[in-house]
């Protein structure tokens, strides 16, 4: 089977597929979204966290609803992938809404 080439591309359907990802919270302030990449169909796990140590501004807790930019994070080979990139190139925006149980 031919490998799918790397291409930075988006589609409205990508976010719809990602909205059905499994969500878990392995540690406070972290989310792990797991599912199949809407473009290359590889199993991916995308970490979503409130903030990182970067010494660039003070940390503020994430709001209840936020827009998370996402990319495919698969480790599969995709011809034409530039150095320093990951995945197949698919990207999308996902709305994450946190609420009390």
């Amino acid at each position: 089977m031919d490998e799918m080439p790397y291409e930075e591309v988006t589609d409205d359907a990508y976010a719809e597929v990602a909205a059905a990802f499994d969500v878990s919270s392995p540690a406070p302030g972290t989310l792990l979204l797991a599912g199949r990449c809407p473009r290359c169909a590889a199993e991916i796990r995308v970490p979503v966290i409130d903030g990182v140590f970067k010494n660039a501004g003070r940390f503020r807790r994430a709001p209840a609803e936020r827009m998370a930019p996402m990319i495919c994070t698969c480790a599969e080979e995709h011809p034409g992938r530039p150095p320093g990139r990951i995945g197949c190139g698919a990207y999308w925006l996902l709305r994450i809404t946190a609420g009390a149980r």
Binding site: D12, I49, P69, A98
Partner: protein, 205 residues
């Protein structure tokens, strides 16, 4: 807490960049925290070493020469300094090199999230370590200050030099030019008209 996912608006190339940057930021986070902690550890150790060196420069070094209750006060401060310094060292070393702990497989979190959690713990240790080191430095300064400037045991003493002898002790009386000193050898009366020098001192040799 429940989390709901829904499709966002149409994404643009800048969203792809932002997502990649976030991903890279998570990837290198633990390394950055460890490097920062190692630098802080070295800096804080240098600060304490400089303070200890400064404390040995001059002044009284024996808290047994202090009047009560200052030996106990200074001893308490020194104990607090040692405890605070010990915690600071543990926290800073733990931040720089990690916690010597195992994690059960069924409680292990996935790779990148695990690194992020470890980075968060290291950052917490680093902050506590910095605060404890500064507290330790403050206590050390207080201990040196009470040792140097605390009141001497037995009050001020007088050193009187005469021809052929030197007397030193606590002044107990002065009458018609005759000074009475309480020395290690007992009470001694000195005729001040025959004294070559009279000098107040903190301690007798």
């Amino acid at each position: 807490m429940t989390v709901r996912l829904s499709p966002g608006p149409a994404a643009g190339p800048h969203d792809a960049r932002a997502a990649l940057e976030q991903f890279d930021a998570i990837d290198g986070e633990l390394e950055r925290v460890r490097a920062a902690a190692a630098a802080w550890r070295t800096g804080m150790a240098g600060l304490l070493a400089a303070l200890v060196g400064f404390g040995l420069l001059k002044g009284r070094t024996d808290i047994g020469q202090l009047a009560a209750p200052w030996p106990a006060v200074t001893g308490g401060i020194l104990l607090a300094t040692a405890v605070t310094g010990g915690f600071a060292a543990i926290w800073l070393l733990r931040a720089a090199h990690g916690r010597p702990e195992r994690t059960r497989f069924d409680r292990a979190v996935p790779g990148r999230i695990a690194d992020h959690v470890a980075a968060g713990l290291a950052l917490h240790d680093l902050r506590r370590g910095i605060a404890a080191t500064l507290g330790c430095a403050t206590l050390l300064i207080a201990a040196v200050a009470t040792t140097w400037y605390g009141p001497a045991k037995g009050g001020p003493k007088m050193r009187v030099q005469q021809l052929g002898s030197v007397l030193c002790g606590t002044v107990t009386g002065l009458d018609q030019g005759r000074l009475t000193l309480k020395t290690d050898a007992g009470l001694v009366t000195v005729d001040l008209t025959r004294a070559l020098t009279v000098k107040p001192v903190d301690n007798c040799p």
